[in-house]
């Protein structure tokens, strides 16, 4: 009797503890405690070079009844007032000095009006005030010089080009110049602003922006100009991760070994590039790749990221296809390497990592008129983290859910009780007969 009572009480107690005790065990954090920024962000001061077109056409009075030049000057004054302390700002002009007709001389007419550095607002404003619309529009040479102005340090670099007309210094295509600057791997973004632009100017400025991952803005009103330039200057202050240049090869044997991080590379149309990453048993490799369409490309395209063993067996792949206008096409993959205990160990007793070959390939194509060199910008992000807890069941820890589950358990419980009752009645009968 006492035994039975104790048993019932124990079962009861167990159930109550089980049911009551679990409820408060809600989720807790195990990730990093702050939503801060990662340590990889660059430390150097961000640099901005404002490149202003001071060609003759800037005299046109079509921005809110003012001349383009005075609208630009006013916008510059407002921007200079609002420049964040840490930004190193410079101003470069194009077409500000040479009045003549000699194209050769006119196309060299670009000058650093205010060198890139800490901003002295009064000095910079005085310098801007002296400008008068004058000469040619050598956008290409000005961009090259502006890129030189920004050299040094590893902070964000941005060129803001404000122009009202097409480049008058062909055959040097400013769009190609922009792509070359981007291909130098110094992470310069060129944002362009067109003042009351015509179709040709618009195409050219959009192309320059596209080639460097920048933006194009068409300005019709004075306040739009200052607002946008301020926004662009502020963008350089935003923390950003600076990718490290890497050079993938055409086979896995000679491929560069990558540590976790963010990398850039270039890949021409239809090219394959290999990289290698080490993964220890029990770790998970995570890689994602973005290929930028920095020029006019045909409408349908694809990107593939493939992880394989050194022998060439494919482990896992990420694929993406797309169509229409795009800045980048990206894909990614995960490869959790199982820790099965049976791995070789090196001299220090550490498990030998597996070398995984990552292959980045693309199916972009371009019209024949588009240059294929330099290749499309590739951004590769590699991370190696602790492996996942692979699920052993489809459901959460194999636990149940739903009304059918409850009914089934109740019925099974009832059956068990009935059976137990029968057995005990049978045992009593046996005892009585004895």
């Amino acid at each position: 009797m006492i035994i039975r009572w104790r048993l019932a009480a124990a079962v009861c107690g167990l159930l109550v503890t089980l049911t009551g005790g679990i409820a408060p065990a809600t989720a807790s954090a195990d990730g990093p405690a702050t939503a801060g920024t990662s340590a990889e962000t660059s430390k150097d001061a961000p640099k901005v070079d404002l490149v202003l077109d001071v060609s003759g056409s800037m005299r046109a009075r079509d921005i809110d009844g003012q001349s383009r030049m005075s609208a630009a000057k006013q916008a510059f004054n407002e921007v200079l007032d609002a420049v964040p302390q840490e930004v190193r700002l410079g101003i470069r002009t194009l077409g500000a000095e040479y009045r003549g007709d000699d194209r050769k001389v006119g196309c060299k007419d670009t000058r650093a009006l205010y060198p890139v550095g800490p901003v002295d607002r009064t000095e910079a404003k005085t310098a801007v005030a002296t400008l008068t619309p004058t000469g040619w529009t050598p956008i290409g040479p000005a961009l090259l010089k502006a890129a030189d102005d920004l050299e040094g340090g590893d902070g964000a670099r941005r060129i803001v080009l404000i122009s009202d007309g097409e480049d008058t210094c062909q055959p040097l295509d400013p769009c190609e110049v922009a792509r070359e600057i981007a291909a130098k791997g110094i992470h310069v973004t060129v944002d362009t602003l067109g003042l009351v632009p015509d179709a040709k100017t618009r195409t050219q400025l959009s192309c320059i922006a596209e080639a460097t991952g920048g933006t194009y803005t068409s300005v019709q009103h004075k306040d739009e100009l200052s607002g946008r330039v301020k926004q662009l200057v502020h963008r350089t202050v935003e923390p950003a991760v600076t990718p490290v240049p890497a050079k993938g090869t055409d086979s896995c044997e000679r491929a560069p070994q990558l540590k976790p991080g963010l990398y850039t590379d270039r890949e021409t149309f239809g090219e394959h590039r290999f990289y290698r990453v080490d993964v220890r048993p029990g770790q998970e490799l995570r890689a994602s790749v973005s290929i930028a369409a920095d020029r006019a490309v045909n409408d349908d395209y694809g990107v593939q990221l493939r992880a394989s063993t050194l022998r060439g067996r494919e482990i896992v792949r990420g694929e993406a296809t797309g169509d229409g206008r795009t800045d980048v096409l990206s894909t990614g993959l995960r490869y959790p390497k199982a820790d099965d205990g049976g791995v070789a160990e090196d001299a220090d007793g550490e498990p030998v990592p597996e070398t995984v070959c990552l292959r980045v390939s693309n199916a972009f194509s371009a019209p024949a008129s588009v240059k294929t060199e330099p290749g499309l910008p590739v951004e590769l992000s590699v991370a190696v983290v602790d492996g996942p807890d692979a699920g052993a069941d489809a459901a959460f820890l194999g636990l149940g859910h739903g009304w059918w589950f409850l009914i089934a358990l109740t019925l099974i419980g009832l059956l068990a009780g009935v059976l137990w009752g029968w057995i005990s009645r049978w045992r009593v009968t046996v005892w009585r007969t004895h």
Binding site: T19, S38, S288, A320, E379, S381, G391, F405, L406, A416
Partner: protein
């Protein structure tokens, strides 16, 4: 008699526990569905990023805005945890109809932390605005984020989700005109029916300067309302067992008989 008393006691205790549990169970999804905002005073972002690397972090439920030019690629990112369903809504205020020259097509794309494009279960992801339209509204509802998935699948996993908003086609004369975009990401609890086994060691967050994290951190993967269902099932089974036993076992051994016989 004592058995009956103890059974009654146990029943009432179990019922109490059960009631408490179901109370919690009913309350839990409601609480998490409204995405508590302990740091709600943090202002909503007014700028968008321009690439995956610079995507602006938005908190679920918060409306982020951005001034941009037609043709810009605008990027945001938000955290989504296991068992959550996310919906992204975007509204683009187009430039005045007198400044525009034709219709424009806008598109909202969502990518996971590994920059893999995520399918939208429903929602209008791409929409063409007529030449005289004032706004375009886009929406994308993602699949439920799973705690674990096979590496070969593209299932959404806990981590950052990137939102990209851009124009696909526009009259070329309209390129660069100013627009205003507003984006909201809402996360809801998908319920324990969606809880799967296993969990990733770390959320998919990489390749970006910002590291989004849900309020209260990423879940540890130890809690699921399935515990409640299973416990309730165990209680019911025990009770049904006791009832079945009492119905069939009869009076049992007479109390005056010593147990040793």
């Amino acid at each position: 008699m004592a058995v009956a008393t103890s059974a009654r006691r146990c029943l009432s205790a179990a019922l109490l526990a059960g009631a408490a549990l179901f109370g919690t169970a009913a309350a839990a999804p409601a609480a998490s569905a409204e995405t508590p905002t302990p740091t709600a005073d943090a202002p909503a972002p007014t700028e968008a990023g321009t690439s995956f690397r610079t995507a602006t972090v938005i908190r679920p439920g918060q409306q982020a805005t951005a001034q941009a030019s037609t043709g810009d690629y605008l990027y945001w990112q938000f955290p989504a945890d296991a068992g959550q369903g996310a919906t992204v809504d975007a509204t683009v205020e187009l430039p005045g109809a007198d400044a525009r020259h034709g219709e424009s097509t806008w598109q909202l794309d969502v990518y996971d932390g590994l920059r893999r494009r995520q399918a939208c279960r429903y929602g209008m992801q791409t929409r063409t605005a007529a030449a005289d339209a004032d706004t375009v509204e886009l929406s994308c509802t993602l699949r439920t984020v799973r705690a674990d998935a096979e590496p070969w699948s593209n299932d959404p996993l806990p981590g950052a989700y990137y939102v990209r908003l851009t124009t696909l086609h526009t009259a070329s004369a309209d390129a660069g005109l100013p627009v205003e975009a507003a984006v909201t990401a809402t996360t809801t609890d998908a319920g324990s029916a969606q809880d799967v086994d296993g969990s990733p060691a770390a959320p998919l967050v990489q390749g970006s300067a910002a590291r989004p994290e849900p309020d209260g951190g990423w879940s540890s993967g130890w809690w699921s309302a399935r515990w409640l269902w299973t416990a309730a099932g165990a209680v019911l089974a025990a009770l049904a067992g006791i009832a079945g036993y009492r119905a069939t076992a009869g009076r049992g051994r007479p109390p005056h008989v010593p147990p040793s016989v």
